[in-house]
Amino acid sequence: MDFLRPTSWRDALEAKAHHPDATPIAGGTDVMVEINFDHRRPTSLLDLTGIDELASWSEHGGKLRIGAGLPYTRLIDELGDRLPGLAIAARTVGSPQIRNRGTLGGNLASASPAGDGHPPLLASGAEVEVESVRGTRLLPVEEFFTGVKRHALASDELISAVHIAPATGAQQFSKIGTRNAMVIAVCTFAIALHPERQRVGTGLGSAAPTPLRAIEAEEFLSGELADSGQWDSPRPLDDSVVRQFGDLVARAASPIDDVRSTADYRTHALGVMARRTLGWVWDEYRNHPSSTGRPECA
């Protein structure tokens, strides 16, 4: 097995162009499991951990650009206050040791329907920046996932970064699993309020072959809130609105039965998580309509 260790992003792109079959490795928390268990025998590995710029973040035009190689631990510590939904999700990934090494880029490229980073990215309308020697593309995160463990990267492309706007309203993430640490989620749900656009964003995990948004639920709730003038003078939500939102989220899912759970349970749980997290973010919004999205409770 060849081992390529570029020290600049340009060299990494050149290497990927010359060795399209090379397996990139960032934190290694997915790749190494496959290698140790002989599920994957890469002909060559392209180690991205020597590229400092990939593990950094910056701010451009009101958006954060998170390098694909930034470990979760740093994401939580350095950006947690501005990306509360993503930070809550990141804190549930694996274990502290996994979070010290695992990255958002690796999470995206693994494209597991259960990747915990995906729902908050969907709820915030994030974009994935992918690059090759041919140039750069910016893909809405929902276009990045094309199937179970499948994504839109061409064989010479690497993920360079994720672009995401800092929170303008409350955000939440909820995950069901048998315990907190080191479980693959049974299902997950993320919600983000975008008061400046009068929109609600959602993201569902382990609910379908790919992570997805509950678009009908978003439309319904955004419409209800706008029609009743609630963005400007928020009041407690009607039970019927909360229930309808939960039902629409559950209806967006097309889960399967597997070793972790059943489709019926997942559908039911998604509705419950949607109602519960909506309650949390709306309470927060009512109490601090101008907050920058720092959650008060989870």
């Binding site: 060849d2 081992f3 490795i25 928390t29 510590d77 509360p84 804190r91 274990s95 907190n180």
Partner: protein, 176 residues
């Protein structure tokens, strides 16, 4: 493909030849005879292979040796100051934080790394949500925080109660 690499292990400069496929755990145990980190699961779930890798806790079964050429590795054995046990190791002994001892080197390295993280103010998922990057007061390292922050280390003997006591003691005691 064989590659020659250097590692600094418990303060000693070591040089070895590894196949590119070799994990850091296998390099330490099989090639260098450093058997302090243990292999429990080989896929990142049990934490028994935890060391401090350039000062931060990491599971060595998920790290490639070649990717860490030149790194500084501290195993539980290297934490001691000569004959003097590290305060965390001493607390494990004093509070019976072990039964068979297989998970112990990983638990101790993880605890040392964890105390550093807490001191640096890193929040966990049980730290009052919403504090974002806010600093964590060390006195807030209660049992719930310790359990969450040590959740990457399993103990098949179930010595958890005493492990938590030992770490609480080390966190609040002197000598750190």
């Amino acid at each position: 493909m064989d590659t020659r690499i250097e590692l600094r292990v418990d303060g000693e400069q070591r040089s070895l030849t590894v196949d590119t496929r070799t994990t850091l755990l296998d390099a330490l145990r099989e090639r260098l005879g450093v058997t302090t980190p243990k292999k429990g699961c080989d896929h990142g779930q049990c934490g028994s292979c935890t060391v401090l890798l350039d000062g931060r806790r990491a599971t060595t079964c998920l790290a490639l040796a070649v990717a860490h050429a030149g790194s500084e590795i501290t195993t539980a054995a290297g934490l001691a100051d000569g004959e003097e046990l590290h305060p965390v190791a001493r607390a494990f002994l004093e509070h019976d934080g072990l039964q068979c001892g297989y998970c112990t080197p990983g638990q101790i390295c993880s605890a040392v790394g964890m105390l550093d993280e807490a001191e640096a103010g890193w929040p966990s998922s049980v730290t009052e949500h919403g504090e974002g990057g806010a600093a964590l007061d060390e006195s807030e390292l209660d049992d719930e925080e310790i359990r969450e922050r040590m959740s990457g280390n399993l103990c098949r003997c179930g010595a958890y109660a005493n492990i938590v006591t030992a770490i609480r003691e080390a966190a609040n005691g002197s000598g750190r």
